[in-house]
Symmetry: C2
Subunit: 429 residues, 2 copies
């Protein structure tokens, strides 16, 4: 067997991950479990910590997470947020702006304080407290977004609140990440003023690029869409998504914040339906890699310990992770949307943690700021919240609207046919 | 400005290359020049040897061809051949099998002998002769395929002959590449028997995987297409394309040979139209990167010399490159298709050289087997044939069928509307 280059190694891994993720996702969705969970479980099963290590043909390891596979996963995350942005125009965003801002802010403060308090109660020390708090802050909206797309609820008022709150949450979460990481790595004192400054700067930047994109991008897309073929329009949409991500990252924000802002800006362009369809196709190659990698990174071995305190702490951490978002996001959402059930939905949707939590934990363990067991507990918490959130969210819709859910499900997330009684898709203010 | 990781650096480069390639491609196609040439010129202009080196913001170089960008280009090449395969079923391929085999074989032998002879005449030595011969052998069918798609001619008899001859040509070309490379790097004697053995083995392998794919893949795709959504089918098509490429590479063939065989196998599945549409969308992210990179790799500086013999040799090499494919492919094609004009078209379509020639030249210069000026001449020859082939091919269709060409052109390569007089799309045997 000839030697394969890095690109072909990556192609083999992507081929196996995409195929098994989509197949397991489909099987899960037959069983009424969110398909993204199937994609993640496929990654866990095939990952280098599980079966992946045994998939060797003639000395060639089939599953290898090299730089190119990592790039596909990262681009997958960017495309998921871009697609989420495409579902919402800037005008829509302004309507739920206040609610999103309050819910997003409280959804950052409550988990941070509760996580910090838990570590303090257990005498883990200030630094560990800051790490635990920061790891609980940022919601990973990707999975929630996909669940909402699957059950055809992206335009429901609670969905809009969730996504806009998640953006505020992401910006604040990344600001806190920035502060904590610079604190851990440089050991300088954190002043209250410094924190406020970083947060204010991040928010101002985010608002700035969002407004900039909303003004510039629809004009470019509308101009280019006048061509005879769709390809230049598709290339422009791709370039907008990638360029905005890189710009956001260059300015110190998260790349996915830029992708979301670009998507939201393009949502008001005339050819939005074609762009949505295009991005959905493109995502097939990238987004399963994102979720499969999230699963593949989990090492079950780090969970084997004889310390019963670890298991106790782990259980309490998971409870805090769930409760803090239910209180921080669900409660104010119930107030803003004037509906207890919608409040629960927003809370459920915000429970899942993801990349930001992983980065916090990774930097902290790398700098020797937290113990191996604390690291394992944080990873386990991120995994469990990611599994629980879509299950709770999907269940909350099934309980409330069984007929509709069934229909949305059967049509694979598309609009229900005309003969089904319609329900209001748009949020009337 | 914050530091960007490799992925975001790649995203910036891909964003600029895809956008400018598609825009320049569109501008070129308004002027009736193949859009792929526009994509390549965009790469030449923005490449690191040209304007790319000056595109620096705050010390950050916008265009950087890192591993991830290279991977996108390589995947682009694979997808282009996969798409070419999707246009042709195995049944179609068998129909033109004999013509394709003869044309492909003569299209390898004639250029190799003429290239070797030219180097011998000029006293360049045996090794340089083998390198020149080998660099002239393999046609790069990607650009020809895209031109045929643009003018809606993929199902014309001469197109089928071209693509099938190019596959034979690719297999033989890569076999010769393998022989020459192992000869250069190991300095062992080339026996006539060894060459025949390698070629026979490559051909047998290629036939084997083509038959295997034709039996297995349509069944898998048809089974998976029974699902409620298109996504598992799309994931299966992606996996088939990537998996087949890797399998071919692992067996010692070129990855694109595997992609073409997989595409051809899937062409007979029931949901072929959906898969074609899907792959076309996916290619928007990858294929402009392939052509832009082909342009970006050209360094104009290597063409600055005071040796007039260099320019003379260069001109003769280009003439030999064109003539050898016109004689080796065009002549037998005119015989098989019983049409002088179709023979010319096949000859034009086979002129462009590409990756294989670049690899031969690269290995040879790396091993010190050829001089810098010979290397530059080979690169220049590859570039010029790549530019000339689509121009000649497109022109040959304009001359013959101005009305049709106009229509196919105006509709961006799609089927003409019903009110336009139709012409036979399928090749009747």
């Amino acid at each position: 067997m000839a030697e394969l280059g890095n690109v072909l190694q990556a192609i083999v891994t992507i081929c196996i991950l995409v195929f098994s993720a989509k197949i397991l996702g489909e099987v899960f969705s037959w069983r009424k479990i969110p398909s993204v969970l199937g994609e993640m479980v496929a990654g866990m099963i095939l990952g280098p910590y599980a079966i992946g290590q045994f998939l060797v043909i003639n000395g060639f390891q089939l599953i290898q997470i090299n730089e190119i596979v990592g790039a596909f996963g990262e681009i997958g995350g960017i495309l998921i947020l871009f697609a989420a942005g495409l579902e919402m125009t800037f005008q829509d965003f302004r309507k739920v702006g206040k609610a999103g801002f309050v819910i997003g802010t409280l959804g950052v403060i409550v988990p941070f304080v509760m996580g910090y308090g838990l570590a303090m109660l257990l005498n883990y020390g200030t630094i560990a407290g800051l790490v635990v708090g920061a790891s609980l802050v940022a919601t990973s909206i990707s999975i929630t977004s996909l669940v909402l797309m699957e059950i055809n609820k992206t335009r429901a008022p609670e969905a809009r609140v969730m996504v806009s709150a998640a953006v505020v949450d992401d910006v604040l979460g990344l600001a806190i990440l920035g502060v904590i990481v610079s604190f851990i790595t440089s050991s300088t004192a954190i002043t209250a003023l410094g924190v406020v400054e970083v947060i204010a700067w991040s928010l101002a930047l985010w608002l700035g690029i969002t407004v900039l994109f909303a003004i510039v991008l629809p004009r470019i897309i509308n101009f280019i869409s006048k061509g005879k073929t769709d390809e230049p329009m598709e290339a422009a949409a791709t370039a907008a998504c990638f360029g905005a991500s890189a710009l956001a990252a260059a300015l110190g924000l998260s790349a996915i914040v830029g992708a979301f802002a670009a998507g939201m800006a393009i949502a008001s362009s005339r050819t939005i339906e074609k762009i949505r369809e295009y991005i959905k196709k493109i995502s097939t190659v990238f987004s399963p890699v994102f979720f499969a990698l999230a699963g593949a990174q989990f090492n079950i071995q780090s969970f084997i310990t004889t310390d019963w305190m670890f298991y106790l702490f782990f259980i309490i951490l998971v409870v805090v992770a769930i409760l803090s978002k239910m209180v921080g996001c669900g409660l104010p959402a119930a107030f803003f949307l004037k509906s207890r059930s919608k409040g629960f939905k927003v809370g459920y949707g915000m429970i899942s943690r993801g990349e930001v939590g992983l980065i916090v934990a990774g930097v902290a363990i790398g700098a020797g700021a937290i113990s191996q067991s604390l690291y394992a507990a944080i990873l386990g918490m991120i995994l469990i919240t990611t599994i629980i959130a879509p299950l709770l969210l999907r269940k909350s819709y099934v309980d409330e609207l069984p007929g509709e859910e069934e229909v949305a499900y059967e049509t694979g997330g598309r609009d229900p046919p005309d003969f089904i009684p319609t329900y209001p898709l748009h949020f009337e203010e």
